[in-house]
């Protein structure tokens, strides 16, 4: 990944677009939000991998690693967000992939937003959040991740 640095005088390899995993964690079938956001990200120039519904934390982490994702976006509308996200964060840690930032969207009580952030979730989006804001936040997180990677090489 460090080969993608912009260095003057050298051939500048084309910058790989930011890649986002959009995942439906848990067993609810409400995929409207996930699909709309996947499209909005694609339209904004991101590469998007949509996992489909009924994914386990492990499947999501494996997808993120395989795809070399910059951000994981999780959509949950079953109310089981605390349980599943906790497992997801543990799995990321276990796989040494906790440098991949995680954002969550869905029907989520405000008090749970605090709890999700304590678990390490970077941002939580409720219904009504503008696509522009979601895209901006994800872009910023992806940029940060790439920058850190480049610095560490």
């Amino acid at each position: 990944m460090s080969s993608r640095q912009y260095t003057s005088g050298q051939v500048i390899p084309e910058r790989r677009p930011y890649k986002v995993i959009v995942a439906k964690l848990g067993i609810d079938g409400h995929d409207r939000g996930a699909k709309v956001i996947a499209r909005a990200l694609k339209d904004a120039g991101f590469e998007v991998v949509y996992t489909g519904i009924r994914q386990t934390p492990r499947q999501v982490v494996m997808a993120a690693l395989q795809e070399d994702a910059d951000v994981i976006g999780v959509s949950i509308l079953s109310g089981a967000h605390l349980h599943h996200v906790k497992k997801l964060m543990e799995e990321l840690e276990r796989m040494g992939a906790n440098d991949i930032p995680v954002v969550v969207g869905g029907t989520i009580p405000i008090i749970d937003i605090d709890k999700l952030k304590e678990m390490g979730v970077k941002e939580v989006f409720l219904p009504g959040t503008s696509l522009r804001k979601i895209v901006e936040v994800i872009r910023r997180l992806a940029e940060e991740k790439r920058r850190k990677e480049e610095e560490s090489h």
Partner: protein, 566 residues
């Protein structure tokens, strides 16, 4: 029948309209332009400034409307409608374990609810037991956990199953949950002919929108038809299917798509049942529908009216139904969950009231009103009570229930009803050319149409073409307020543990021989392609669990995996 308006009158009206559009409007526009360049409904139907008899040229009253209880039932299916009986106030309820839900049902009955409606948790919806690894963290959250007949028995403690009707929002595992229900009713001495209620049991919309599918499309439809056939012959008061537009709409469809796709689903089921050798007038009276009532007020009213007219025509002209009841579109309505916002959530009460009013003006048979706290969680008792009271205000204070189809004859409503119907027919024709809805679903046609519509809507919100108060107009920045919403609180982990213990207890305390024979017989019946219902009922009574029964059927039918397209 002749036109409603004579030539002379139309000529005068046309002259007045010309003056209005060509002289008066431009003068006014010079002073103040209109708020938008183009006004459209949520389905994207462009709207004129005003409607008049000129928009209803050739309108044949008898062909399009007639009177309530007369073909094509546009004005309502019953002759007296709400003057005789207010719609059924049926609040979708359920959370936690059967004990919590029993308590909530008794609470709602005490406060005047007239029909029950069970919401199941996700593990139940997809047919797995509480101790299945996939169920972890999900038990009892969005509805009640019912993995065994024992759980169903607890839900109905103190409730007379011969006098209430119960809706069960359940799809792939519908035969199992219906068997639990029938088994419990029977054990309480309720005769089969008194068992009333509804199973949603609408498999096609699972692939289109709701996504709690289990089996692939063909066996999924087969199982649903088994339930319908069995139910018509054994529990005649039961509505074995609720052909649902609600989830299609919530997934992003427009009103026109909701109407078209749902009716196309209905057409597919009618064909399937006829292919089994059933007489259309034997089963058609038991088919029921379920619509969303969204926030674009007039479009919703027109949609309900168009739905009745279309279905009557289909049943009479396509399928040769003879009985009036076979042509009735009876339906339940729920206000639009997707219209609820977390920003200053109390205004959701207002949204819900307006949506509920549209459903009533549209002639619904039963109604669920959402609670204002649902952008966060399953409703609290307090929020659910406000939602129920909203219906009661509409029913008993406003007077809107005193005259049947009060919007009928409005130039605008009649024009819009025709327009929505026309647009829905065009979709149905496309689906027919694909070979019907089962084929269209396999091709992913409605799925793609809905995903496109959902994205278009969101972009319109983004661009300010669609306004949502507190979101993109008068945006609400205050977050602290939301913390004051008293949410339903229950110990999910404790409930999950309790449900796991109970399902284990049931497995350990049953007649093993009867249980094994029942599941073996079920498997063989499914393999032979027989109607599985009698075998599922026996398995349920033999205390086979939901997960065991569904697992047995999965072995035979396989499991559906959706291609993750967006």
């Amino acid at each position: 029948m002749s036109d409603l308006f004579n030539e002379k009158a139309l000529k005068e009206i046309a002259e007045a309209y010309k003056e209005y559009e060509e002289k008066l409007v431009p003068e006014w526009l010079k002073k103040l332009p209109e708020r938008m360049e183009e006004f459209t409904t949520l389905s994207g139907i462009p709207l004129k400034r005003v409607y008049s008899p000129l928009d209803l040229k050739g309108f044949d009253y008898m062909e399009k409307l007639a009177f309530p209880a007369q073909y094509p039932f546009t004005r309502g299916i019953h002759a007296t409608m709400y003057r005789a009986r207010i719609w059924t106030m049926r609040m979708f309820s359920g959370f936690g374990g059967p004990e919590e839900t029993n308590e909530r049902l008794l609470f709602l009955i005490k406060h005047g609810e007239t029909g029950l409606s069970l919401a199941f948790d996700y593990p139940t919806l997809i047919g797995i037991d509480p101790d299945d690894p996939m169920a972890e963290g999900e038990v009892g959250i969005v509805g009640v956990s019912v993995p065994t007949i024992v759980d169903m028995d607890i839900i109905f403690r103190g409730i007379d199953m011969g006098s209430v009707t119960t809706n069960m929002t359940i799809n792939p595992p519908a035969p199992v949950l219906l068997s639990f229900y029938v088994g419990v009713a029977e054990s309480k001495g309720t005769p089969y002919h008194k068992i009333g209620g509804t199973t949603q049991n609408d498999p096609l919309k699972e692939f289109i929108a709701q996504k709690s599918y289990v089996f692939p499309p063909e066996p999924a439809v087969k199982v649903a038809m088994d339930l319908i056939e069995w139910s018509i012959k054994n529990i005649p008061k039961w509505n074995p299917i609720s052909i649902s537009g609600y989830h299609i709409r919530e997934a992003g469809a427009t009103a026109v798509q909701e109407l078209a796709f749902t009716i196309a689903d209905g057409i597919e089921y009618v064909r399937q049942l006829i292919a089994r050798g059933l007489d259309v007038d034997e089963f058609a009276p038991r088919l029921s529908f379920f619509w969303d009532s969204h926030i674009n007020f007039f479009e919703e009213i027109a949609k309900f009216r168009a739905a009745r007219r279309m279905w009557a025509k289909i049943m009479r002209d396509w399928f040769g139904a003879k009985k009036r009841r076979s042509m009735w579109m009876r339906f339940h309505t729920q206000t639009a969950g997707v219209s609820l916002m977390p920003q200053f959530p109390w205004i959701n009460i207002v949204r819900t009231a307006i949506e509920a009013l549209a459903a009533v003006l549209g002639g619904t048979q039963s109604l669920h009103t959402n609670s204002f706290d649902e952008p966060f969680r399953v409703p609290s008792e307090f929020a659910a009570k406000i939602a129920l009271r909203t219906q009661q205000v509409i029913a008993y204070e406003t007077g809107v229930a005193d005259v049947i189809d009060p919007c009928g004859g409005s130039y605008f409503i009649e024009w819009l009803t025709d327009e929505i119907e026309e647009r829905a027919w065009r979709y149905i024709e496309r689906i027919e050319r694909m070979g019907g809805m089962l084929e269209a679903v396999k091709k992913g046609f409605p799925q793609r149409e809905i995903a496109d519509a959902a994205y278009t809507f969101q972009k319109e919100v983004e661009e300010g073409k669609r306004l949502i108060v507190g979101v993109n107009i008068f945006p609400e920045e205050e977050e602290e307020d939301i913390r004051k919403v008293p949410l339903l609180d229950f110990d999910q982990e404790e409930i999950e543990e309790r449900q796991k213990r109970r399902v284990k207890w049931v497995r350990e305390n049953r007649d093993k021989a009867r249980w094994r024979t029942a599941l073996d017989n079920l498997r063989r019946a499914a393999q032979r392609g027989e109607n599985i219902m009698p075998y599922v009922l026996e398995a349920a009574k033999a205390r086979a669990t939901l997960g065991e029964i569904m697992g047995t059927l999965k072995e035979v039918y396989g499991v559906y995996v959706e291609p993750p397209i967006y």
